[in-house]
């Protein structure tokens, strides 16, 4: 089982490699990837340097080209696929049908991974991408239970990658237009969700308020921990109750499920967080490297060490962790 870690910058890539990542995934500095944030990501020179660093240590690099191009912008995505092929990127992560087709035809040697943004939740969907485009690996949306993940694995030859740790999308990836609805930035077409440019913080007599394009996402009493206003993680009023109507600010942490992942044949575990610092990448990667090695050695006897969980907790949203959809009660 491989460990796939995020990098939003060259220092983060080096940190991931040094801490034991098998794969490092990254994106270019534009809307061709789903973490299109200001000041983040790689230009061609940084990509070349990152590839050289990772390959010297026999690790692999993934380029995420996992947003959906449009007629007027198609060229940019296409050229990015070409760049990946010519630079020697080990695989690209793609969601769009047309782009998968282009990559498969034009660069048959380039390994293709189906992005979580492709929303493939069944083996029928996953096998379709294999038959049509030779997709080697699929990243499953964070909506399936363990039993459903296992059912998919049993019915496909495509390698299955699941999310292990980090920010949790409560909606099916690739099928959420909440950000586009509230502030115009579409995760699917622009690679952005709840963007910083749309955020306003304001102290008011009622408390500290966070807004996205004017929509009140949450309000905090003095002393309450204020979280970034990701719009699905705010408090809202439904009938006469005010609560986290969609999801609490919490991070996914599936470490206790590692023996199950090993037993089922999960091929890779992915850490979320290209927008996070090199320090986050380094610390989280180190902990997961140890955990995966231990799970492989110990099998069903494996249990997460308390110090690992404490370390991960420091990096969790609102210092809360959840098993997400892997645990049925969450649904």
């Amino acid at each position: 089982m491989e460990l796939v870690c995020p990098a939003g910058s060259l220092p983060a890539l080096k940190a991931a490699v040094d801490a034991g990542a098998d794969w490092v995934y990254l994106g270019l500095r534009d809307e061709t990837n789903a973490r299109n944030f200001a000041g983040l990501n790689f230009d061609a020179a940084a990509l070349a340097a990152g590839l050289a660093y990772a390959h010297a240590k026999r690790r692999k690099v993934l380029l995420a080209l996992n947003t959906y191009p449009q007629a007027g912008t198609w060229e940019r995505w296409m050229r990015s696929v070409d760049l990946a092929a010519t630079q020697g990127v080990d695989a690209i992560i793609v969601a769009d049908l047309g782009l998968l087709d282009y990559a498969h035809r034009t660069h048959p040697g380039l390994e293709l991974h189906l992005s979580v943004q492709g929303s493939a939740t069944s083996h029928e969907a996953i096998n379709f991408y294999q038959q049509k485009f030779g997709v080697r690996r699929a990243v499953l949306p964070r909506v399936l239970s363990l039993a459903q993940v296992e059912y998919a694995i049993r019915n496909t030859a495509v390698e299955i990658e699941v999310f292990g740790f980090g920010g949790l999308c409560v909606m099916v990836e690739g099928r959420c237009m909440l950000s586009a609805y509230a502030c115009g930035d579409s995760p699917n077409t622009m690679g952005a969700c709840s963007p910083a440019r749309a955020v306003r913080w304001e102290e008011t007599p009622a408390g500290l308020e966070s807004r996205l394009n004017g929509v009140l996402i949450d309000r905090y009493a003095p002393g309450e921990h204020a979280a970034y206003p990701t719009l699905c993680k705010g408090r809202f009023e439904v009938e006469d109750e005010t609560y986290y109507a969609i999801e609490e600010p919490a991070s996914l942490n599936t470490m206790e499920l590692l023996p199950e992942f090993v037993r089922m044949g999960v091929r890779a575990v992915k850490i979320e967080g290209r927008q996070r610092s090199p320090a986050y990448v380094s610390q989280v990667t180190k902990v997961w490297r140890r955990a995966i090695d231990a799970a492989l050695a110990e099998g069903a006897q494996f249990a997460p060490r308390p110090d690992w969980m404490a370390e991960l907790n420091r990096h969790s949203e609102g210092s809360q962790q959840t098993l997400g959809a892997f645990s049925r009660p969450w649904k």
Binding site: R235, F236, E237
Partner: protein
């Protein structure tokens, strides 16, 4: 097809019912639809497989009835398939043998591939001519654009790859799907023991901001806009972009009137009353945040 020239008269579609209504209410609603301005009717459970007021056979029976009354009928497949049971339901829809099928995930596309005349539904994430071309090679003959589609995006797709195109034009926007049921969550129930609370919310459960502003509507595992999307003022720009079918989404009130207003607007008989956009939005079509409204 000529997207800009002498376009044929636009047709109206009634999208699949996204809510959980009592069986009698469903039958009453579609009895009205027989006499409505809708040319095409999409039927079936797209949102949640736990809902059992209507079984698959009931939908097919309704489909036959509407077809006998001259409606073009399409059976819509579930959008989010999570396991063996969901796949079984999608296979049933695909193999119905009588009516065309709307695919709403790639599993359904895979099952439909090689058959002719199916519909690429709004949840497939087809944003460019290349992707559309691929599903057309697999047998799709109609594209329902994603609900966040802008005029420029639709125009760009159809100009390069002409196809019969449908756009979501009226009703609460289906914005997101999750594995979590937010209606059950409201009552601290687990999805597997949800008590079918969503049946009490015929247009979804309003989700307001903490200052009481309507923002979203909770419909089980689906999240919708609180505002009604309404492109009744855009029939000209829709036609110009090459769109030939406008979709209205079933709501408990006003659907018949909305279909008629869209019909009138398409035929140039619309009064274009300024009040028509009260409580509505049309931002997506104009390349703006969905909840906004062009002046």
């Amino acid at each position: 097809m000529n997207p800009t020239g002498n376009a044929p008269r636009a047709r109206l579609a009634l999208g699949p019912l996204l809510y959980h209504w009592p069986r009698a209410a469903i039958h009453d609603f579609y009895a009205q639809i027989v006499d409505s301005a809708a040319d095409i009717v999409y039927l079936g459970e797209v949102v949640c497989s736990r809902r059992q007021e209507m079984h698959f056979e009931d939908w097919v029976e309704l489909a036959d009835l509407l077809a006998a009354h001259g409606k073009e009928v399409v059976l819509s497949a579930q959008a989010l398939t999570e396991g063996a049971g969901d796949l079984k339901r999608v296979r049933k829809v695909v193999a119905n043998g009588r009516h065309r099928v709307e695919a709403n995930d790639m599993g359904a596309v895979s099952l439909l591939a090689g058959t002719a005349g199916w519909i690429a539904g709004p949840h497939l994430n087809i944003y460019n001519p290349q992707s559309l071309g691929l599903v057309m090679e697999l047998g799709a003959t109609r594209w329902v654009a994603p609900v966040e589609a802008t005029r420029d995006m639709v125009r760009g797709v159809i100009a390069a790859r002409p196809v019969e195109t449908e756009v979501f034009a009226w009703g609460r926007l289906p914005l997101a799907f999750s594995a979590r049921c937010f209606t059950a969550r409201r009552f601290n129930l687990q999805k597997e023991a949800c008590a079918f609370k969503c049946i009490d919310y015929p247009d979804g459960m309003p989700l307001n901001t903490r200052e009481g502003e309507g923002f979203l509507a909770i419909n089980g595992v689906q999240t919708q806009s609180a505002l009604f999307y309404n492109l009744v003022r855009e029939t000209g720009s829709l036609r110009e972009a090459g769109v030939s079918i406008l979709r209205a989404s079933p709501q408990s009130h006003g659907t018949m009137e909305a279909l008629q207003a869209l019909r009138d607007a398409c035929d140039g008989n619309g009064t274009q009353a300024t009040g028509a956009m009260e409580g509505c939005c049309d931002g997506f079509w104009h390349g703006r945040p969905g909840l906004e409204r062009a002046a």
